[in-house]
């Protein structure tokens, strides 16, 4: 029978193949290449798309360090699977964001994409992960749309939404009876969303915005705006600046003689990483953020010690965000015992997770943005010392704009 003949031939071929494979396996074992193919299929691939060069390089490194620390604390494997990292420098270059994310998803076939810092690049990543459905954790970028209009079941954030750190400050300022406030910020996404968050709670608390002042990002010529503020004589000023711009602003604010005359408030980014540069120009300034110096909990102490030991560096808020991204992913992997194919179950477990973060307890909101305590901090010497909790378990901005597809 011709059919049988063919079957026999196929069978023979198959047997030969199996033999050959077995021999190859033995050879490989003898040559020290043990279980090459097996191990590869068992590894979990994590893509770290972060800025490793440029202005945000330090943030990228801190996030990657934090993430790796969290994973290594889970033991040798993550729920029975080794973790392999694919790192990619996004250079904080928005036009290339989508292409680079696509490279990680289609070429490297990562199981989880972690990234990034810059909100413009983030929008490119969000586009790709929405199309491909790859599991995604945002470890910094605050652009509200990512967990707002553009939210998706596979998109999580371990950091903050732009308005979130600013919202509690509005209440703090209103509660102190400071009624007439001027706001000043860079006119770009983060600046606008921060001012909106501040206004939201400040107006609810009975405050009044005397004037909104803006300057183009990343312009740092503040002198005319400081003159304007001096002539408006408000009860307080709320600002959003970060990095080098924040350092220059704080220096100019003091040189213009406004420090000590008009109370200055901002989100924590105003005084993160610039205290050494500005000397006493920042002393006493109060800000709100989801982390700070001197959070005296066993978890935070243990985290700071482990981080310092592993990387010979002091951790900052970005390291915490990276660390929590690792914890969040670990919670998902544990729930499915390492079976990465059960994406629905992983997502459900991550949604329900309570992260024991160095900053305190963190859970996920409906739009998968962190619900977290917001601290009031005050600059004392070289520290952003936590003086209290400005708002407990803050879920902001409201998840109303997020229509999560099931």
């Amino acid at each position: 029978m011709p059919n049988d003949m063919q079957n026999d031939k196929k069978g023979a071929k198959r047997r030969e193949l199996i033999k050959a494979a077995g021999a190859a396996g033995l050879l490989a074992a003898g040559g020290g290449l043990t279980n090459l193919s097996l191990a590869q299929s068992a590894k979990v691939k994590v893509g770290l798309m972060l800025p490793y060069t440029g202005t945000f390089a330090q943030l990228g490194v801190a996030i990657a360090n934090g993430f790796k620390l969290a994973i290594s604390e889970q033991g040798k494997t993550l729920a029975g699977r080794e973790v392999e990292y694919v790192t990619l420098d996004d250079e904080s270059d928005p036009p290339k964001g989508a292409d680079r994310a696509n490279q990680l998803v289609t070429r490297d076939k990562v199981d989880l994409l972690v990234g990034t810092v810059h909100s413009g690049v983030q929008m490119g990543i969000v586009k790709i992960v929405r199309e491909s459905g790859v599991l995604h954790i945002i470890p910094n970028a605050g652009v509200e749309a990512a967990t707002g209009q553009l939210c998706a079941p596979n998109i999580f954030r371990s950091s903050f939404a732009n308005g979130q750190p600013a919202y509690p400050m509005g209440k703090v300022v209103a509660d102190r009876g400071l009624k007439n406030v001027v706001t000043l910020a860079w006119r770009y996404g983060a600046g606008e969303e921060s001012v909106a968050g501040f206004k939201d709670s400040f107006l609810k608390g009975g405050g009044k915005i005397v004037k909104e002042l803006w300057l183009p990002f990343p312009n740092v010529e503040f002198q005319s705006l400081l003159t304007e503020i001096a002539s408006l004589k408000p009860d307080a000023v709320f600002v959003f600046f970060a990095g080098g711009g924040a350092a220059k602003f704080l220096t100019d604010w003091k040189a213009a003689g406004l420090k000590g005359r008009i109370p200055l408030f901002g989100t924590g980014f105003l005084t993160e990483g610039v205290l050494e540069a500005v000397g006493d120009a920042a002393e006493g300034i109060e800000t709100t953020l989801h982390y700070g110096d001197g959070i005296d909990t066993p978890k935070n102490r243990a985290f700071r010690l482990a981080y310092a030991k592993a990387f010979k560096l002091q951790p900052d808020v970005y390291a915490v965000q990276g660390y929590d991204a690792g914890l969040l992913f670990a919670a998902g992997m544990k729930a499915v015992k390492g079976d990465i194919s059960k994406k629905k179950e992983i997502i459900a477990a991550m949604r329900a997770a309570t992260i024991d973060s160095p900053r305190g307890k963190v859970t996920m909101s409906k739009s998968q943005n962190p619900i977290q305590d917001m601290y009031l901090r005050k600059v004392v010497g070289q520290e952003n010392r936590v003086t209290g909790v400005a708002m407990k378990a803050l879920d902001y901005p409201p998840s109303g704009t997020c229509k999560m597809p099931a």
């Binding site: 060069t53 440029g54 202005t55 390089a57 330090q58 006119r187 002042l213 803006w214 300057l215 183009p216 990343p218 312009n219 740092v220 010529e221 002198q223 005319s224 705006l225 400081l226 003159t227 304007e228 001096a230 002539s231 004589k233 990095g243 080098g244 924040a246 350092a247 220059k248 220096t251 100019d252 040189a255 213009a256 003689g257 406004l258 005359r261 008009i262 990483g273 610039v274 050494e276 540069a277 500005v278 000397g279």
Partner: protein, 313 residues
């Protein structure tokens, strides 16, 4: 003709006279600072005709030098001369190594090479100094401030910077217009070969001019360091505006660059704080980010060669 009220331009007269004067001062002061930063570009771009995109990097280099040298030598007064010497040497070396290859080539090569230099300098900065934000202390002598109103002070250091800018502008103008060296430089910018064939070592002259341009940019960075703080990418912020200054002023003109810089200073200052509404749309301060570029467009439409540029170049 009767227009509805809403269609008339509306300029909010919210500022009182003293505040207006202070803003005027702010505008002039910012303009002078811009001139200081752009002065090196006036030499390299305006006189030598090299499109130098790395100008911002030289500015950043100066700021970082000021930071390191002030730490090392103990005061900005010592850091300034040391920084100038270092940046002149660096300028001579850079011209010899790469820039001299550009004179005979067209602008595209210049743009490519000097853009490459930006990337190289950013990485070097990251390797040598890291990505931290740093501060430089204002020297004790100039640390005071003058009280202008009941709640606004003006730092003496800013006024001193303006003084330095004026002296520098006069010096530049004098060298270029009133000395033999200046005459040779200007002649070289019109016809290199002719100057060369008259027995003048134009290669050396250009090397010096480039080094001087670089040193001016670095000097601006050093002077600005105490007020602007020192941070990665600070050069890129000033690069575009420097080109605007030189283009508005007219290529090759020191007076033009000065007038252009002060115009920009004033337009930028008042663009940020005035409220201007036309036909119910708020134009200012909504558009404060583009006022400077609008002004440039208008000036170039009116005089394509810039305010003080010579026609037919």
């Amino acid at each position: 003709m009767i227009f509805p009220d809403a269609f008339l331009p509306y300029l909010e007269p919210a500022v009182d006279f003293p505040t207006f004067l202070i803003q005027l001062l702010n505008g002039v002061q910012y303009g002078l600072l811009l001139f200081l930063i752009a002065s090196g570009l006036t030499l390299i771009f305006g006189i030598m005709g090299i499109i130098n995109l790395a100008h911002g990097s030289f500015y950043m280099l100066g700021a970082y030098l000021a930071f390191s040298l002030t730490e090392g030598l103990g005061s900005l007064w010592l850091a300034l001369p040391a920084g100038i010497v270092l940046s002149v040497l660096f300028g001579l070396a850079l011209e010899w190594l790469v820039i001299q290859r550009l004179y005979a080539r067209d602008h595209l090569y210049q743009v490519l090479l000097t853009y490459g230099l930006i990337l190289v300098f950013e990485e070097l900065r990251s390797i040598l100094w890291g990505d931290d934000v740093h501060g430089v202390k204002v020297p004790e002598l100039l640390a005071a401030s003058i009280s202008l109103t009941d709640n606004l002070n003006y730092p003496v250091y800013r006024l001193a910077m303006s003084g330095v800018c004026l002296v520098l502008a006069l010096g530049l103008w004098w060298v270029l217009r009133r000395t033999k060296l200046g005459m040779i430089i200007r002649a070289g910018s019109v016809n290199r070969d002719m100057v060369q064939s008259l027995g003048i070592d134009i290669t050396l002259i250009y090397r010096i001019v480039f080094a001087a341009g670089l040193a001016l940019a670095a000097f601006a960075g050093m002077l600005a360091a105490p007020t602007s703080s020192v941070f990665p990418g600070m050069g890129n912020q000033v690069l575009i505006i420097c080109f605007v200054v030189v283009v508005i002023g007219g290529i090759g003109s020191v007076q033009g660059a000065m007038i252009g810089a002060i115009l920009i200073g004033l337009v930028d200052t008042f663009g940020k704080v005035l409220t201007l509404e036309v036909a119910g749309f708020q134009l200012l301060p909504q558009l404060s980010g583009v006022t400077v570029y609008l002004m440039m467009a208008v000036i170039l439409l009116w005089r394509p060669e810039g305010l003080f540029g010579s026609r037919g170049r």
